[in-house]
Amino acid sequence: MRRRRPSQSQTDLDWDGRAARWPRGLGGLVPGGDSNLWMCAQDVETEIWAHFHRLEQRFGRYDVEPLRLDTCSDKLRDLLIESVPFNEHREDLSGAVANFAKMVAQEFVIDGLMPFEVQAGWNQSARSPRPEGVRLVFVYPESMKKLGPWLFQIVPPHENHESTESRVVRLDPERIVTFEPPRYYRQALAQMRSGFRWIGRSQHEWMMKAGTEQMQEDFKAVTRSYNVCRARLSAPIGWDGRGSFQDHVADFHWALRRLRWQRFCIEIRDGILTTLAKVFTRIGEWRGESPHLVWEHLPTLEQVQHAESQLVGGIVRFDEVFKAFSFPSR
């Protein structure tokens, strides 16, 4: 796997970003405040990573590159790769973007969106009109406030060492890029976040009661009801609760949900890549180029539709239905 060390060349650049960052808590014992939510987020992350990783051979080399940048110079290409955060020091475009996409997707489940500020690095000594470095800096969504055409960031007082009051930073909306899930998934994800957190609170109590035989109800019935709630909340995205519905779900229903999950992950991935492509294009324009991010050989919605029709028709085996999405054994 090609990994690179943190760039030394960008240390002497002047960065024009305004957004502030500070350490932020997890929101509970687990990220997102609920174990189901965190598991779901991790599963989205893993699935999107798997979309890319299934094309990888040993040492991070791809048989066929799933991503490429058309009409892009090598210099800009390197700059764009370096601009992608959470890339786990991957030097290749596909690896870097894959790692970025999985983190963004995870955040979609936990927080619903992920805004970034595009910061440009300028080399004052070179007196060049073009930025020498670019980076995407995560801006906490809860700290951003929009007021008409203006966008502000509220920095909490304990992070604002200069005074005991919150500090307001005006952000440039042109520099803010927000990664969001497709519109039709937003409400479902919001319901899932609030629902999981709500039913998750009671779980510890009734499970402990069952362990001490204080529970008056049938434990199996309670577990089933709990699983029905979880399955209903996650039905729009098709999450399988890491197999915890296995005792209640029919194979056909499970297969349908799994295809729905694939559809969700693909749409999330494509949404992230589409937004990132726009960001790359904007950065390219700063340098007088118009790079175009292209992805292929990844699972597609057409494959999901085809698999669904095959499943409903009952004409092929289950493993054939999922062949397009399965991870090849090596």
Binding site: R224, N227, V228, A231, R232, A235, F245, H248, V249, A250, D251, F252, H253, L256, L311, V312, G314, I315, V316, R317, F318, D319
Partner: protein, 887 residues
């Protein structure tokens, strides 16, 4: 100042306190410490108590206390008794409420309403009823007489029932005795008597308070009193029938059936666990009651065993009814009694094993439903009855009972209860084999054979009907039930009988579809998936049935026959083995049918779940092995069967055995299976000679000369099998011929006049055309001949070369043996038959046969062989001449 109380705060009688304070009062130290004044009332009382008056007063006080307490106790006991009495009185009132209400209704209808009508009619000018008038004295006389008579009959009838209960049912449980009183007619009659007495009493009471007598009431009382009087005798006589416990079985059966209906799909609250549990308790209670009745029936000494037979018949009837209803009960219903199932440590859940390791307590077993609890109880009771009948030597009744068992086994098997059917048959077999092993084999042999036959017929049920139930309906009728599932209609799930494993899968799927509906709002699962699940269940059922068939053949036919042979019961073993051959034949057919059905079910299988092999191939091989084992066992009993007296009073076991042995010998030759052939052939040889001897002896009797033909038929059979062995040896290079020649040589060595023996064996060959052509032997020999011809074809020999033109056919190399080459087949039948070849190859070749004229059939055979030999010589010569030219 307060005086310290060393005893406590509890109030005490002051005298008692004084006694307890003696030592304190006497103690000067205490007086000093407490600064108590000597002249106070406590001290005065103490001094008074020590005086003579005080002592007398104390004695009087003690006596008074005793008397008072005793009186209080007596009053308390009386109060308790009154309380009990009050409760009992209330119960009595409760018992009497219904008869009183009915009597009140009757009196109101017949006295008050007419009186009210008359009053209204007089006031309003309506037409007055012209009821016949009744004399007040006669009225009171009638009421008093009826009241007394009804009370007397009540007492008498109850006494009669009590006599039945206390004499016939003296040693049984109370629940059984209660059944006697619960007889429907008895209860209704007792209530009618009570009603009559009550109405008469009320009528009399009304008359006593100056209410005018009612002719309608009098007529009503007269009618019901008449009914009671007339019914007294028939019911009294009927009471004697209650001495027979089989007559009271209808009440527990009725209660059980009612409880059963409540938990089937027709019951209102059939899915409610509390109702299921309640129904189970009723069923358990009624089954215990039936078991008590059976024990009562078999412990009483009776000259005839009809009671036991009737009890067993009722129980089997119940079992048959139950199994028809059972498939509409959910698998997890609490109707089914729970039984413990212990899990293996290695496959138990880690939490369970962790708790076990930490606490030192073994993991608890799972409570799983026992789906066969009613059938098993019925089987236990039936077997108790059967054992009792054997103990009492009631063989005819035992046969009747086994026939009933057969019907029950068939019902079980037809309704997918192969396991229950096998358990029932197995229990009957165990008792029967024990009986046959311990009884005298010469005593009533026909009845013993009847017992064996009926048992074997019952044992065929798990083989025949279990398979039939899975194969007789079209596969679509079995599998296509998706409509009920997709509409979540649970009752439709049980509208058709399915094997329990299919039901379990279907119920599981149903729950999963309910989950899908509650999660997604709609059911998206497709019909093909439902059909696949049901088809998988049926496939599992077929695999189980195939395994069950094999187990039945082994346990119910091979094993008992072997046991009987070891116990020196050849006749019964022979009958059992012959049924065993039938069982193998039927098992083979059924397995083939099931295999075809299994292939049809595979068409419904779409997903990646493994489609297991049906096991039919292995099963067929095992059935073949069982059949071979049965034939070997038959061969073992041939010497005993030969010594058994021949006649028409018993089935011809020897004849059938001989036929089966011959079939097996021919099959072994076809399969080139030489192991065990020798033993089998010797058995057949002996059996055929025994038959020959028997019919020769029979032919000596006047008027039975024709039996000589039958004897000759048996000789031809033996020579035919021997000839086949010689021909198959030539054909395949096997050693069957050597075995046959060795056996025949031994036979001839024992003969004193060997040439005469040769002539005797030539005779059937010379006169075979005079023998009947449609006899059992002749038909069997024709079948063997066809099998020989088929074997020649299977081995690539051109059997048509003598009849069909050769120019348009591929030339096939003739068989190197001139004997095989000499066989001419015409329309599937060899022209010269195997017994002719035996005469030609063995008999004619013996030294003792020199000089004896050969029968024409043998001469034809020898000529054919010689011609074949010449043909082969010519062919060899042509080949030898042609070879140098080609070089």
């Amino acid at each position: 100042m307060t005086y310290p109380n060393p005893i406590g705060d509890c109030p005490r009688p002051w005298l008692a306190i004084g006694v307890r304070l003696i030592h304190q009062v006497a103690s000067l130290d205490l007086v000093h410490e407490t600064r108590m004044k000597i002249g106070n009332w406590r001290l005065s009382a103490f001094m008074l108590r020590r005086s003579g008056l005080g002592q007398r007063l104390a004695l009087g006080g003690r006596r008074l206390t005793f008397v008072t307490r005793r009186a209080a106790h007596v009053q308390s006991e009386r109060l308790h008794s009154v309380r009990l009495g009050g409760s009992a009185t209330w119960q009595l009132v409760q018992f009497a409420i219904t008869p009183l209400v009915l009597a009140g209704l009757a009196v109101t209808s017949f006295v008050a309403l007419p009186a009210l009508y008359e009053k209204l009619a007089m006031n309003r000018g309506w037409k007055i009823l012209s009821l016949p008038a009744i004399d007040a004295q006669s009225y009171s006389g009638l009421m008093a007489t009826v009241g007394q008579a009804a009370a007397a009959m009540l007492a008498l009838f109850f006494t009669a029932i009590s006599v039945v209960a206390s004499t016939s049912y003296a040693k049984v449980t109370t629940n059984v005795r209660v059944l006697v009183a619960q007889d429907d007619l008895n209860r209704r009659y007792l209530r009618l008597l009570a009603h009559t007495a009550a109405v008469a009493l009320v009528g009399l009471s009304l008359h006593a308070v100056s209410i005018p007598p009612s002719s309608i009431l009098a007529a009503y009382v007269a009618v019901i009193a008449g009914i009671c009087l007339l019914a007294f005798f028939p019911l009294g006589v009927r009471t004697f029938a209650l001495f027979d416990p089989s007559n009271v079985t209808s009440y527990p059966l009725r209660a059980l059936v009612r409880a059963l209906r409540a938990v089937t799909r027709n019951g209102r609250r059939w899915l409610d666990p509390s109702f299921q549990n309640y129904a189970n308790r009723i069923a358990e209670e009624q089954l215990r009651l039936l078991a008590d009745l059976v024990i009562f029936g078999i412990t009483e000494n009776r000259p005839r065993q009809k009671v036991v037979l009737d009890l067993a018949s009722s129980i089997n009837g119940l079992a048959r009814f139950y199994v028809a209803q059972k498939s509409s009960i959910p698998s997890d219903s609490l109707w089914f009694t729970r039984k413990a199932e212990f899990k293996r440590w290695e496959i138990a859940s880690s939490s369970m094993t962790e708790i076990a390791l930490r606490t030192g307590v073994a993991p608890p077993p799972d409570a799983i439903p026992d789906h066969g609890f009613v059938e098993d109880r019925c089987t236990e009771m039936t077997i108790q009855c059967l054992r009792h009948l054997f103990e009492r030597e009631a063989i005819d009744d035992a046969v009747s009972l086994l026939l009933d068992v057969n019907r029950t086994a068939v019902a079980y098997a037809k309704l997918f209860g192969q396991a229950e059917s096998m358990r029932l048959v197995s229990a009957g077999r165990t008792v029967l084999v024990d009986r046959l092993k311990t009884s005298d084999p010469t005593a009533e042999p026909l009845k013993q054979l009847q017992l064996v036959d009926v048992q074997c017929v019952a044992a065929l049920a798990p083989i025949l009907y279990s398979a039939m139930s899975l194969s007789e309906d079209a596969v679509g009728q079995l599998v296509c039930h998706e409509a009920g599932f997709l509409r979540l209609n649970r009752r439709r799930l049980y509208s058709r009988a399915h094997p329990r494993c299919v039901l379990k899968d279907a119920e599981d799927l149903f729950q999963r579809l309910e989950f899908e509906k509650s999660v997604e709002g709609v059911i998206r699962t497709q019909p093909w998936y439902v059909r696949q699940i049901i088809a998988s269940g049926y496939a599992e059922a077929i695999r189980e049935v195939i395994r069950g068939i094999l187990k039945t053949v082994e346990l119910e036919f091979v094993a008992p026959a072997s046991e009987l042979i070891q116990a020196q019961r050849p006749a019964c073993a022979g009958a059992w083995l012959q049924r065993g051959i039938e069982a193998c034949h039927k098992a083979k057919n059924r397995i083939e049918v099931l295999e075809a059905r299994y292939a049809e079910l595979k068409g419904f299988h779409v997903t990646e779940a493994p489609w297991l092999a049906s096991g039919a191939e292995d099963a067929l091989a095992k059935v073949q092995a069982f059949r071979a084992e049965i034939v070997q066992l038959l061969a073992r009993i041939v010497p005993d069967l030969c010594e058994a007296p021949a006649g028409t009073t018993l089935p011809d076991l020897l004849g059938q055995t001989r036929a089966w042995l011959a079939e097996e010998l021919v099959s072994m030759m076809e399969r080139k299976e030489e192991d065990g052939f020798g033993d089998l052939f010797i058995a057949y040889f002996n059996a055929s000679n025994a038959v020959r001897r028997h019919f020769f002896e029979s032919a000596q009797q006047p008027g039975k000369q024709d039996y000589i033909r039958v004897a000759m038929d048996a000789m031809l059979d033996l020579m035919d099998v021997s000839g086949l062995a010689l021909l198959f040896s030539q054909l395949d290079g096997t050693r069957f011929g050597e075995v046959v020649v060795h056996t025949w040589n031994g036979f001839f060595q024992l003969a004193t006049d060997k040439p005469a023996m040769v002539r005797a064996w030539y005779a059937p060959l010379g006169s075979k055309l005079t023998l009947p052509i449609f006899s059992s032997s002749a038909m069997q020999r024709q079948h063997w001949n066809r099998r020989l011809a088929q074997a020649l074809v299977d081995r690539g020999i051109d059997v048509d070369r003598h009849f069909a033109p050769s120019w348009d056919r591929q030339q096939i190399q003739p068989h190197p043996s001139p004997i095989v080459d000499s066989i001419i087949v015409n329309y599937g039948h060899p022209m010269e038959q195997p017994h002719d070849y035996f005469g030609a190859l063995y008999l004619a070749g013996r030294e003792d046969a020199q000089g004896i004229e050969l029968p024409s059939a043998i001469r034809n055979c020898l000529d054919a062989i010689e011609r074949a030999r010449a043909r082969q010589r010519e062919a060899n010569d042509e080949t030898t001449q042609a070879e140098p030219e080609s070089d």
